[in-house]
């Protein structure tokens, strides 16, 4: 097997082992109901993690996405409350805003040669603040169209609900896979993650690619915001605090190298599902505190960082020996 597949294989193996352990204790966990809920509950996280994967593959980071999701929910709720625009139009408007917001951050990162960390940290505060500007309380969304999409699902055999937002998440992952692994843009993203100076020498249009990467992340954050508003039926400026870090964790557990240049979008999906599975297990168990999720996620993260370091050492050692 190609060594670049090892982290992905490890991710998938851990997920399968986790599934097996859960099944041993609670056989019912391997039902379509649980699977459907897993997809639905983690839909927004999965979507935003796809954007984050692209950013991290390029060697960057985007800390603004949690705030952007919250802003998106508030924006939708307030606009639907105060105007008579159709939600689809509001969605389009919102996606245009968040994409432009991401593109702006990308442009700053490139043209000012600033670390992505600091620029997106500013973006995080800006987006959170913009949410508060619109409202400081939770705004419920009441619109017939929302009722329609909230109830849109396909009843799987075994009574599991395959919801629209779950499907949207899987579609996002698929789109991300094609974008990253099957386009020239994706190749440029990997090139940037491998080294900006080299990428430039090889003919990557660094400015355009950087802007594109953060614009894509902004778009995905907006999409995740829409999904989150459908999921919760409201907009609240204090929602999804720290989601950016959860997304980063999912990406790393999914086998993507945190320093960029290596990884798979599919791994991110598995990472998200692994984290969701742990949560589901705790719900089934009922006696454990929900903080155990964090502890397990922390341990998994550590495991993957060590795994990647080990692989890196292995491959560089071999390169020197050859």
């Amino acid at each position: 097997m190609n060594p670049r597949l090892y982290p992905l294989a490890a991710t998938v193996a851990i997920f399968l082992v986790a599934c097996f352990l859960c099944w041993l204790q609670f056989p019912y966990m391997l039902s379509t109901r649980v699977a459907g809920n897993l997809l639905t509950d983690n839909a927004y996280l999965g979507i935003v993690a796809v954007g984050m994967t692209v950013v991290i593959l390029s060697g960057g980071i985007d800390l603004s996405v949690g705030s952007v999701i919250a802003f998106s929910g508030v924006f939708i709720a307030v606009v639907l409350r105060d105007t008579s625009l159709h939600p689809l139009l509001v969605f389009a408007l919102l996606l245009a805003i968040t994409t432009a917001f991401g593109a702006g951050m990308g442009a700053l990162i490139h043209h000012l040669a600033m670390p992505a960390f600091i620029v997106t940290l500013a973006g995080m505060f800006l987006a959170r603040g913009a949410g508060y500007m619109l409202t400081i309380e939770s705004v419920p969304i009441q619109h017939p169209f929302y009722d329609l999409i909230q109830d849109a699902y396909w009843l799987m055999p075994g009574k599991g609900r395959f919801t629209l937002i779950g499907a949207l998440m899987l579609a996002s992952v698929l789109a991300g896979m094609i974008l990253v692994h099957r386009t020239r843009f994706g190749a440029s993203v990997f090139a940037l993650g491998g080294g900006e100076a080299t990428a430039r020498l090889m003919g990557v249009r660094v400015a355009r690619t950087t802007v594109g990467i953060y614009a894509f992340s902004g778009f995905m954050a907006g999409l995740a915001g829409i999904v989150f508003s459908v999921y919760t039926g409201s907009g609240y400026p204090l929602a999804t605090v720290g989601t950016e870090l959860t997304a980063i964790a999912a990406v790393v557990i999914g086998g993507t190298l945190l320093t960029g240049g290596a990884g798979y979008v599919f791994g991110t999906l598995v990472g998200v599902l692994t984290m969701g599975l742990i949560q589901t297990y705790l719900v089934f168990d009922g006696s454990l505190s929900s903080w155990w999720t964090k502890i397990v996620i922390g341990a998994l993260l550590l495991l993957f960082i060590l795994l990647q370091k080990g692989l890196l050492r292995l491959s560089s050692g071999r390169g020197a020996a050859a």
């Binding site: 190609n2 060594p3 670049r4 094609i178 099957r182 386009t183 020239r184 994706g186 190749a187 990997f190 090139a191 993650g193 491998g194 080294g195 080299t198 990428a199 430039r200 020498l201 090889m202 003919g203 990557v204 240049g261 290596a262 491959s315 560089s316 071999r318 390169g319 050859a322």
Partner: protein
């Protein structure tokens, strides 16, 4: 001629990197470009590949004047470059690297199968048997280098520049690479080969052009050259007579010994050597790039710890495992690359001068600002540092003045032993002479100095004694009248035979 360069000139603040250089390259030729560090090789190449915009002169390729503004433009014109550090992406597959930016697509998506097929076809003529679907980083450096060449040839196809391509290869891999390069010559490419391994130059190239201090020294057929003359061209000794008169004044005085290094060495850097340094003596270290001269200095200053031997003075052994210990022992070191290792560009002249002194006093006892100011102004006057005032960031000074600030910093510490690695690199002639004058002045006050230089006339001018380094070994020691450009060149060029002080006159 495939490529003709006429009167190429490039100036940086404080230094003229290229001064009216001519160069030409025929199709089906391997042309070596040689010179010491700072001779202008890399500037010439960067002008050719569009990384730098030239200030004057013209470049004609295939009869058309060209003016590349970026690497990709140069590539489109037909000029491809392969660097010492492989400039490909180890995290992509071999195929992705070969076809980056020109991936075959199907319905807007990259067609992996077609890409691998094309990559295999590109590598067909190179005698490589590798899986193009594997990461480039999994391959040996030699294979990576050949992949880089294959990519450059496929993209450009007229001129191929190889910039120190063999620096990290072993002998077998070098031979493999040379076979590839010879094959490309036979296909009619013009190849520029930059290397400081003279054996490889003689083995591979058809003609040689030597640069020194930004000027072209000569272009000759490799077959007409011998080692000795080539090294003479690279190090230069025309000025020897002019400087010799002033140099001999302090030649044959007996000096009390200040320091003695015994069996000092480090595996892979320098073989163990003995060296004694007298009080008020200038010891020169001569040798080609990569011979072990800088490593010797680094060992003496504890930048890298010695594996064997010890240093001692009249009071006993001196620990030299870290620069901190070396400073405590009264050593100073002005490194070769002052931009990255010597100055803190954003700090002012005053702060840079006070830096090492402050480090020795410890953070708890700051030097009063008044004293710093007095110190700075004192040295600005003494060393004639050209700056509008002491608060100007050092980065804005010219190269020669930056070097003087580095010197001032160490002089302020009043070390007993000061190591200067290429103190006159990249600075203009006037400042050059002043720095040599300064060296004379401080040794007159009893300081001992070790000077590393690739300019022979400079060593002849300042050194009381010259150690010649070759192949990471101290091979000869020249003293007094024995120091001349000729004897140094002879010692450097000498065939590989062990024996110290064989050249001492």
């Amino acid at each position: 001629m495939l490529l003709t360069i006429r009167k190429l000139t490039k100036t940086f603040p404080g230094a003229r990197a290229l001064d009216g250089v001519d160069f030409d390259l025929a199709a089906g030729e391997i042309h070596a470009l040689l010179g010491e560090n700072g001779a202008g090789k890399s500037t010439l190449i960067k002008c050719l590949t569009g990384a730098y915009a030239r200030d004057g002169g013209e470049i004609v390729l295939d009869g058309r004047p060209i003016d590349p503004r970026s690497t990709s433009q140069a590539q489109d014109l037909g000029i491809g470059t392969v660097y010492q550090e492989v400039n490909l992406l180890p995290n992509l597959t071999v195929a992705q690297n070969l076809l980056f930016g020109r991936e075959p697509t199907r319905w807007g998506m990259v067609d992996g199968r077609a890409m691998r097929a094309q990559a295999r076809a590109m590598l067909a003529g190179y005698g490589l048997d590798i899986d193009v679907g594997r990461d480039l980083g999994d391959q040996s450096v030699a294979v990576q280098q050949i992949v880089a060449i294959a990519r450059a040839v496929a993209l450009s196809g007229k001129v191929l520049i190889l910039d120190e391509p063999t620096a990290s290869l072993d002998a077998r891999e070098v031979e493999m690479l040379f076979d590839v390069v010879r094959g490309l010559r036979d296909r009619g490419l013009g190849i520029v080969f930059v290397s400081h391994f003279l054996d490889q130059v003689f083995a591979l190239t058809d003609r040689v052009t030597v640069l020194r201090n930004g000027c072209k020294v000569t272009t000759e057929r490799t077959a007409d050259l011998d080692r000795l003359r080539l090294i003479e061209h690279m190090l230069g000794r025309e000025l020897e007579q002019a400087v010799e008169a002033g140099a001999r004044a302090h030649a044959s005085v007996d000096r009390p010994e200040l320091l003695r290094f015994e069996g000092f060495g480090r595996r892979g850097a320098v073989e163990p050597f003995d060296l004694s340094v007298g009080r008020g003596e200038v010891v020169g270290l001569a040798g080609l790039l990569g011979s072990g001269r800088t490593e010797t200095a680094e060992l003496m200053f504890g930048v890298r710890a010695a594996h064997s031997g010890e240093a001692r003075d009249a009071e006993g052994a001196i620990p030299l495992a870290t620069p901190r210990e070396a400073i405590a022992a009264g050593f100073g070191f002005a490194p070769e690359d002052r931009k990255t290792d010597g100055i803190v560009a954003d700090l002012s002249v005053r702060e840079n001068i006070a830096l090492a002194l402050q480090a020795r006093r410890g953070w708890a006892r700051p030097i009063p600002r008044e004293e710093q100011k007095r110190l700075a102004e004192d040295y600005i006057a003494r060393l004639d540092i050209r700056t509008s005032d002491a608060e100007k960031p050092v980065g804005q000074l010219s190269g020669g003045n930056q070097q003087k600030v580095v010197l001032a910093r160490w002089l302020a510490m009043n070390p007993r032993f000061l190591i200067l690695d290429e103190p006159t690199r990249g600075i203009d002639v006037g400042a050059h002479a002043e720095i040599l004058r300064l060296i004379h002045e401080v040794v007159g006050q009893g300081m001992s100095i070790l000077v590393i230089s690739s300019e022979l006339d400079e060593l002849v001018a300042v050194a009381d004694r010259v150690i010649v380094v070759r192949d990471r070994r101290h091979v000869a020691e020249l003293t007094g009248e024995g120091i001349s450009g000729e004897t140094i060149v002879a010692a450097i060029a000498q065939a590989h035979e062990p024996g110290r002080e064989g050249e001492a006159a």
